[in-house]
């Protein structure tokens, strides 16, 4: 698990998506406090495991790499060594940057869409494709990416991760510059951060996010014992906010994990 956390930290910004599935029956509402207790600042997606259509495995930890087009590329454990998976992973990350697909036009669209995260450029490239069937497919792919990004903003707000939500919105605004229909919706999303309630949430969540990022870099180094002392002052800034309540739940969970 530490190797997986480290890999996520190193490669997330290059396009890797890491999903962590607990596979020994832990309760869903203990996962965040458990991961924080062992890896302070843990902020990757984590959930309980379920039956997946990939090969069964005999022991933990175990991992599976699925490529940019949905192909199973590797499955194994850390004891297999890093080299086999790293070569495949690097090849996939190169595809994210350069794009992939049957033609140079398709690659251009996907390089803009997934590599640069530039939706306006991706839509422009898609519209320039002369094969109308292919054009429609790529437009659908671009529109779906836009829908996922707006959904991610709303999801972060629902989880009281207001600062991330705002960062995602600002990035989306930049990514869609010049596309009127998208910009109209994004202006509405941005306005949702200007309410008195949202400002209270952001005041506390900005501090949380800053601490998360510092902890991920090991500065400061924290332990299960010292984490509550780092987090508790943040709650005092807004105990009645959703962000404050989320933090308090995390602190209580870390303390409970320490007693076990």
């Amino acid at each position: 698990m530490p190797h997986a956390f480290e890999r996520d930290r190193e490669l997330r910004d290059k396009g890797l998506v890491s999903l962590f599935l607990e596979s020994q029956g832990a309760a869903d509402d203990t996962l965040e406090s458990f991961t924080w207790s062992h890896w302070p600042g843990f902020d990757a997606p984590v959930s309980t495991s379920t039956k997946l259509p990939i090969p069964d495995f005999r022991g933990l930890p175990h991992a599976a790499l699925i490529g940019v087009d949905g192909t199973l590329l590797w499955e194994g454990s850390p004891s297999d060594g890093e080299k086999p998976v790293r070569e495949k992973l690097d090849a996939e990350l190169a595809k994210v940057q350069k794009g992939w697909g049957p033609t140079a036009e398709v690659k251009k669209v996907r390089a803009a869409l997934y590599g640069k995260g530039n939706l306006a450029e991706a839509r422009k490239q898609a519209d320039a494709i002369t094969d109308l069937t292919l054009q429609a497919e790529l437009r659908k792919e671009v529109d779906a990416a836009y829908a996922r990004r707006t959904a991610a903003i709303k999801h972060a707000q629902e989880e009281a991760r207001w600062s991330e939500a705002k960062e995602l919105t600002v990035a989306l605004q930049k990514s869609t510059a010049g596309v009127a229909d998208w910009q109209t919706e994004i202006t509405g999303l941005l306005a949702s951060f200007d309410t008195p309630e949202a400002k209270k949430e952001l005041a506390i969540d900005d501090k949380r996010l800053k601490l998360v990022r510092a902890l991920r870099e090991g500065k400061p180094r924290a332990t299960q014992a010292t984490l509550p002392g780092l987090l508790q002052p943040l709650v005092k800034a807004g105990p009645d906010t959703k962000a404050g309540q989320r933090l308090q739940k995390l602190i209580d969970g870390i303390k409970a994990t320490a007693k076990e």
């Binding site: 890999r7 607990e22 965040e32 984590v46 379920t50 990939i54 790499l65 699925i66 996922r148 991760r161």
Partner: protein, 63 residues
């Protein structure tokens, strides 16, 4: 009697088999499936929602 039991077992097994697609092998396209809701996630749950980025699924345990 034994045939009846076998028939019943087959009938009960069929809906389960239909719900769980066969496991992909390395090199195969992974059939569509849905993850549970993630903490710290971005709302994506279907495998197809992750197309476009390499996806590392890390199985781990608390014990």
């Amino acid at each position: 009697m034994r045939k009846t039991h076998l028939l019943c077992a087959a009938l009960f097994a069929m809906p389960l088999a239909a719900q769980q697609p066969a496991a992909a092998k390395v090199g195969d396209k992974v059939p569509e499936f849905t993850f549970p809701q993630f903490h710290n996630g971005d709302g994506r749950q279907k495998l197809s929602d992750f197309i476009g980025h390499p996806l590392m699924i890390e199985f781990w345990g608390v014990h």
